[in-house]
Each structure stands twice: as C-alpha cells, then as structure tokens.
Subunit: 209 residues, 2 copies
C-alpha cells in the first residue's frame, strides 16, 4: 500500500554512523546526515526520532558491526596470544582500508566528546569497555594456560584492564597518525609486554616496591 522506501534507507544507519564517527556528534548537523545518507529529513526523524537518538543508534550499530567482531576474535581464537595479535590486526586492517589519518575508534572518540554529557551514551561506552576487557581477560587466560606460567587471576584481570585502556589511547591517536607503522609499532610493543608478562619467571625479578 504505502510508497516504497528508496534503497538509500537500507544503509541509513551505516552511512549515518560513518558521519558521526568521522565528524563527531556536535560538529555533525542533521543536514550533514541528509546529504551523506541520501535520506530525506523526515526519513531520518521517522527512523530515529531525533539527532540524539540517531547518534545512539549509530553507536549501537558500531558495536554490532565493528567492535563486536573484534571482541569475538579475543573470545574465539584458540591461541590466546594470537587472539590479541589478531584483535590489533583487525583494527589495523580497517585503518589500512580507510587511509590515514584514520577515523580512530568511534567509541574512543565518544568517550571524550559525548559520554560526559549523556547518561545513555555513557552506559553504552561502559558496556563496551566491560565487553572488551572481558575479551582480553578470556584471551589472556588461554594464553596463560598455553604458556604454563603462573599469573594469578587478579594479575590477569589487571593486565586485561591495562590493555583495554591502553588500546583506547591507540585508537584515539590513530586520528592524527600519518603512518601505519605508528599503529603497528604500538601493537607490536603491547604484545612484547604481554609476552614478557607470560614468561614463567617474571616473579623472581619484581621491583622492590
């Protein structure tokens, strides 16, 4: 009965997400969304409700199609160390496709710009952080078992938390980096540190304080 939607509606969320991701929330106008998506103003309002809700939907979409698969690698790849390696490779590949300076991680951008102003966004960010951290933890647990070293559960928890926050720094700076090797070097160094932690004798040489 009704007039059929134009095909542009199929990719509405995907295209809107890209605009918010690269330009940020406040610097993106509804007109930007109209132009970038090819969907009429009313279409955007009927689909999302408003700019704030559109942003929220794009953020959820990002978690589903971008960070979801990345965290799945951490959870599913049997070799724990290899899982962490592939997690970084996943984002590095994305940045290779997008070109540098890249868009970084949508969530990393949102943490500083929007999360402090919106409870709903803050909850989404917290949920992501928890999922990522638990992914790192799962991967580290497997790595510890495979390396037969003696990291305690609380040490694994700490290291997972550290990796979560540290990689946030990487995806932030990816927005200003001009060379892919800068990202690759960080990932390599992170893995070297994890591997050092997994060395069975690390306890003997703890610092004195």
């Amino acid at each position: 009965m009704p007039r059929p939607r134009l095909k542009s509606r199929e990719n509405l969320v995907q295209n809107a997400m890209w605009v918010f991701w690269t330009k940020g929330y406040y610097a993106t106008s509804v007109d930007d969304l109209v132009k970038a998506t090819g969907v009429a103003r009313s279409g955007i309002y009927s689909e999302f409700g408003g700019k704030a809700e559109a942003f929220q939907s794009c953020l959820a979409h990002y978690r589903k199609v971008v960070t979801g698969p990345a965290i799945a690698i951490l959870n599913d790849q049997e070799d724990g160390l290899q899982a962490i390696r592939q997690y970084f490779s996943y984002f590095i590949d994305k940045h290779r496709q997008h070109g540098l300076p890249g868009p970084g991680c949508f969530i990393a951008n949102v943490v500083t710009e929007v999360a402090p102003h919106s409870e709903a966004v803050d909850r989404e960010v917290s949920a992501h952080k928890a999922k990522l951290q638990q992914g790192f933890k799962a991967a580290l647990r497997r790595a510890v078992g495979q390396a037969r070293c003696d990291l305690s559960p609380s040490e694994i928890e700490s290291l997972a938390n550290f990796l979560t926050i540290a990689s946030q720094g990487l995806w932030s700076y990816a927005r200003t980096m001009h060379e892919l090797t800068e990202i690759e070097n960080f990932a390599r160094d992170a893995l070297v540190l994890v591997e050092a932690k997994l060395s069975p004798i690390q306890e003997e040489y703890r610092s004195d304080r």
Copy 2:
C-alpha cells in the same frame, strides 16, 4: 587614561580553558565563555580574536600550566622510575582535586574532537606528544642506567612511545571513571610492566615469534 580592565580579565585564559576542557570545543558557546569568565563578549574578542583563536590560546595555556610541569617531572626527577611514578601521581592528584568523573586530559579530549578538523590544533597536539614521549624517553634512559639492564636505545624509544599512547587512553577514560582506584590501578600496572622490562634477564625468555 583608559578605563581599567576588571579583575576578571586576569584569569580569563584560565577560566576559558576550564570550560573548553570540560565541555569540549563545539559544545562550548561564546556565551558560555562570557558567563564562566565574567568577561564581556567584546573583552573575549579583543583578547583572542574569536572562538577558534580563544581555543588555541587555551590549549597553549594548558600545555604551559598543566602538562608542562608534568613533563618536567619526567625530565628532572633523578630516579627514572620514580619520575614516571610521579608523572602519574601528578595527574591522579589533579583528578582527586577535581572529583570524578574528571575532565581527563584536555589534549586527550582535543585529539579526537578537534585535531582532525584543524591544522593548528593538530600541530599543537603533535608538539605535545613529542614532548611527552621525549620526557618518557629521558626518564627511561635514567631508569635503565640505574637498573643496569640492557635495553637498547630503540627499545627505550619504543617503550616511551608505548607509554605516551597508553597514558592517553587513561586520561580519556578518566572522563567516565567513577573511582580513583581505577586510575591508580592503571598507573600501578604500567609501572609493573616497565619494571618487568627493566629486569636484566628479560631477553632470555623472549617469545618465539
């Protein structure tokens, strides 16, 4: 001869900086600056030139009064490890004063929100990153000497780069953290990793790939 400026002009940059720092660039209006600083619109325009220039001045001011002293600790504190410890303590103390969730690091906020849209801001961010990284490098060099271990210059460079980017993640997430211990734990874990790196025997147990 002329009418004297009100005393509010003395703290103009300081107060304007705080607004940009906590609210971000696009979410801050010139009216917000007027209200927060107590300086008339014309005063702000005669002082800075415009909103963009005001932001640039505040960013430079932030580097002078906030990150400058922090990086000075890395460069001046004789004990290299202690220098890194005090660098983190410096920001943790600031967040203790400000309360949580805190403002994070102004520059960390700017990297994601503004740097991709402004060459001038991007240059300021790059300059900061270089200074911080070279501070970490100087502190690490002293720490290596004091621990009598065998880290190569390029390994020191890598570790300094890693710490620079990783701490960026910390100051980003500080905007959403509700417990000071979350920040303290990250700092502690970072130092544990550095200390592990400084163990003289770490080379023997390198991973196989």
